[in-house]
């Protein structure tokens, strides 16, 4: 393992408008080493990667890359192609961005040569196949070169994308959450490939939330939070919990809330399984209670929320709502039963862009606001005005367009929508995503103040958000619930251990290493 950094980032800054996304990031990458970068949503990982790979321009700071003669050279790519030529190759999260689905493997492997300047005008299939074979052999890639990409599994596509990246013989390889859509067997093949690259002396920056990936690969862990590096862990054995801790942050104000208990159950979940091979989930949510389920990205939080809301069906298990069996076949049925969901990623799943505030608020409740199918606009407007006041939405009127609102206010409209009618079970999936601190406080306070008469269930990745809002905190990992805490005297060490994969789980993992 080399000690001199192949790639070095120093004091990197970046702002979008007046929002600072990177506040001086410094990072070293060494040859033959896998550096894992961890960070919650919005920590700035993607921005960092995009600057390094030439998609964004940096706002400040320096980057240097050891050149052919291992003398550091200034590195400031203007385009992704320039970064690749210099020897820094990125495999992005969306696998299909890295390959052309309608072409065969051989063409994909040699695509950059076909499109680069100085490429021959005429397409020579024989030469393409020979070159592709050379690339595939070097990578130990056992895929039929004539197969079309669209006929391959996701893992194979990923392999092709990486092999194609490696055809440039990069010094630095960046992988952005490469396993997020792979099965564990597929991921193992990827890891074997990365092991080989590591032996070849490539410096790898690996971005992931998956603890099992991190335990398998990491030589070093770098945690990021709020646009700065919050921790570097390179002493063996690696301190995984410390890394998670640094990523989630722990600026806890212990006088936040008084945890409540609830006696009357609203929803009971019995041995529900949401993914193949996962352990079943059982839990009870009580009237007046605010429960937060926390866990890293990709552990099944959204899947559970969608199962409760009728978007997807559980593999096994039963649910009981208000003492009656509950198995919603559609979102409409869930809403009729009094189960509401504020979906995550509001612009994708919540906001109707062509509608104003009033129309966005009334969207799920048209039936209750109409007679013989005709909407009663007076009631619609009155509801919108009431909700704007209730949540303190900053706007000129209920007729404002959604695009005129700030992120926090847009999210308030989404919450206002689902609080405009009484719920029995109120689910919020990442309700504080892209929301400024004051709007977040407003929403949390509103949720707690109005909690009586329903059960409230939040799904959050950020631990702080759970601690600030919930009476009870459940921890999710590997598609199931692994821990439960009353938000009064929390054993944070245990909670963080559960988030990071749990002592039981890590023991099992190290056993099969």
């Amino acid at each position: 393992m080399g000690n001199d950094a192949v790639f070095r980032v120093d004091g990197l800054r970046k702002s979008f408008g007046h929002i600072e996304v990177l506040g001086g990031v410094s990072l070293d990458l060494h040859a033959g080493e896998v550096t894992v970068l961890m960070g919650a949503n919005g920590a700035g990982k993607s921005t960092l990667v995009k600057i390094i790979s030439g998609v964004y321009e940096r706002g400040g700071g320096t980057m240097s890359l050891a050149g052919q003669n291992f003398a550091p050279q200034d590195f400031a790519p203007k385009t992704p192609a320039e970064a690749i030529r210099a020897g820094v190759v990125t495999v992005h999260q969306n696998i299909n961005d890295g390959v052309v689905a309608d072409l065969d493997v051989a063409t994909n492997l040699t695509l950059d040569r076909l499109s680069g300047s100085g490429a021959p005008t005429l397409f020579n299939p024989g030469r393409v196949r020979r070159e592709a074979k050379a690339v595939a052999d070097r990578m130990g890639l056992a895929i039929d070169l004539k197969a079309r990409i669209s006929d391959l599994s996701l893992a194979d596509r990923q392999m092709v994308a990486i092999a194609r990246a490696m055809a440039h013989q990069p010094k630095v390889l960046i992988l952005d959450e490469p396993t997020s859509s792979l099965s564990s067997a597929e991921a193992d093949r990827l890891f074997a490939l990365l092991d080989r690259l590591r032996e070849h002396g490539v410096a790898i920056l690996y971005i992931s939330h998956r603890m099992s990936d991190i335990r398998r690969l990491a030589d070093r862990i770098v945690s990021m939070r709020d646009g700065v590096i919050s921790g570097v862990f390179d002493r063996k054995p690696l301190d995984y919990e410390g890394a998670v801790n640094a990523m989630l942050g722990r600026k806890i104000h212990l006088d936040r809330i008084v945890a409540r208990n609830s006696a009357r159950p609203v929803l009971t979940i019995d041995r529900l399984r949401i993914a193949e091979g996962s352990r079943p989930i059982s839990l009870t949510l009580g009237d007046g209670e605010v429960v937060a389920i926390t866990g890293l990205v990709g552990v099944g939080k959204t899947a559970l929320a969608e199962t409760l809301f009728g978007v997807r069906k559980p593999l096994t298990g039963t649910m009981v709502l208000n003492g009656k069996a509950y198995a919603p076949g559609s979102t409409g049925e869930a809403i009729a039963a009094g189960v509401f969901l504020v979906a995550k990623d509001r612009s994708e799943n919540g906001i109707v862009g062509d509608f104003n505030i009033q129309e966005n608020i009334s969207l799920p409740f048209h039936r209750r606001m109409s007679r013989l199918g005709v909407l009663k606009r007076r009631i619609e407007r009155a509801t919108a005005r009431r909700q704007i006041g209730e949540l303190g939405i900053v706007c000129r009127s209920e007729k404002d367009e959604m695009s005129a609102l700030s992120g926090g206010n847009q999210q308030k409209v989404m919450v206002a929508r689902w609080m405009s009618q009484a719920a029995r079970l109120f689910i919020l999936d990442e309700p504080f995503q892209g929301v400024d601190i004051s709007a977040r406080r407003d929403i949390a306070a509103k949720l707690r103040a109005s909690a009586n008469g329903r059960a409230t269930l939040l799904f959050v990745t950020e631990l702080d958000e759970a601690l600030e809002t919930a009476d009870r905190i459940l921890v999710m990992s590997e598609q199931t619930i692994v821990g439960e805490h009353r938000n009064a005297d929390i054993d944070l060490e245990r909670l963080l251990a559960e988030v990071a994969g749990g002592p039981l789980h890590s023991a099992a993992l190290s056993a099969d290493r």
């Binding site: 809301f309 869930a334 799943n349 919540g350 109707v352 062509d354 509608f355 129309e359 109409s370």
Partner: protein, 339 residues
């Protein structure tokens, strides 16, 4: 923000909002002065009559545009309905009611198939309805081996078709209602106005219409708000199919025969009217009122130019210019297209 800037923004807002309406009235004013006899009840009725069938089709396609789809099969649905009406009355010797029911049925069935292809078979809307268009253009020729249908024609098996278009059916195309002046307003214009009001009310004031707009703007959000998105999409194509078949009935009643060569321009004219409608009142989205205004706009322009002796072959060019200008209005000026 200076007050000058606000005034500019307001002026721009007004230009976008009322620009097309002002243009329409300007055009009417111009023709009133330049073209003799342009301002008369008969002329106005003629304009409406000339766009009645196109307008009905355009109102139907508006429904599919609202849910974010498109229906290219409307023209061929209309001509298929026309051929079916002729076949039912002339060859099968049935009465007008059977003919009308058969046409409407064609509209419903084609709409359901379009919806099924798009929603369940996941064929992109343009391609599915393009395929349906081809299919129907071919299908309507099969029963008569590619010939037009008229009383007295010889059938493929050598027999002679003796049925006739019923008087009741023909009156759909030829009867005129009294309106201050005797025999002024044709049935087709009444049908256009009634359907325009119906679809306008449906889209603007009912919860079904509102949800269709939501589906068109953000399908996922509509689904997560409890809407049966697939059903709404299929309904939109059924509406479009039925409106097109009504257009076909009016066409058959006007012609009095099943003319294989008619209805060529229906699709493009109807789509143009609906797209011009985006620009009306700065809606920047499909809307029934805009579609109706768009249809009338084209009618006024063509009628005026015809009365000023513009040659017929310039008509499509002029329609195209109007459409492009309207689209620029919608997407560039209002700035809503680049979301």
């Amino acid at each position: 923000m200076s007050s000058g800037w606000v005034r500019m923004a307001l002026a721009r807002d007004h230009a976008i909002r009322y620009g097309f309406i002002v243009l329409l009235f300007g055009l009417i004013g111009y023709f009133a002065i330049a073209a003799d006899g342009f301002v008369s009840p008969q002329s106005a009725v003629f304009i409406f009559q000339s766009v009645a069938i196109t307008g009905v089709l355009a109102l139907g396609v508006t429904a599919t545009l609202v849910v974010g789809g498109f229906d290219l099969s409307i023209g061929s649905v209309a001509t298929s309905a026309m051929m079916a009406a002729a076949y039912v009355m002339v060859v099968l010797e049935q009465n007008a009611i059977v003919a009308v029911v058969a046409c409407l049925l064609i509209g419903v069935v084609v709409g359901l198939i379009n919806g099924w292809l798009i929603v369940y078979m996941r064929v992109p809307d343009l391609l599915a309805t393009l395929g349906m268009m081809f299919l129907l253009v071919g299908l309507q020729r099969i029963p008569t081996e590619g010939r037009s249908i008229a009383t007295g024609m010889t059938m493929p098996d050598g027999s002679v078709a003796n049925g006739t278009f019923g008087a009741a059916f023909l009156s759909l195309g030829r009867h005129r209602f009294d309106f201050f002046i005797p025999n002024l307003i044709p049935v087709s214009v009444v049908v256009l106005l009634v359907l325009a009001v119906l679809i306008w009310f449906f889209l603007e004031y009912t919860r079904f219409g509102r949800m269709m707009y939501a589906v068109g703007s953000n399908q996922r959000a509509a689904e997560l708000a409890g809407a049966p998105v697939k059903a709404y999409k299929i309904w939109a194509y059924v509406i479009s199919g039925v409106f097109a078949s009504i257009g076909g009935i009016l066409l058959a009643a006007r012609l009095g025969r099943g003319d294989i060569a008619s209805g060529n321009n229906l699709l493009l004219d109807a789509v143009a009217a609906a797209l011009i409608g985006y620009a009306v009142l700065g809606a920047a989205k499909p809307n029934a009122f805009g579609t109706a205004v768009g249809a009338v706009f084209v009618g006024v322009l063509l009628q005026g130019l015809t009365m000023m002796n513009a040659p017929y072959y310039t008509q499509d060019f002029i329609k195209g210019v109007v459409l492009v200008v309207a689209l620029v209005f919608t997407f560039a000026l209002s700035g809503r297209g680049n979301r």
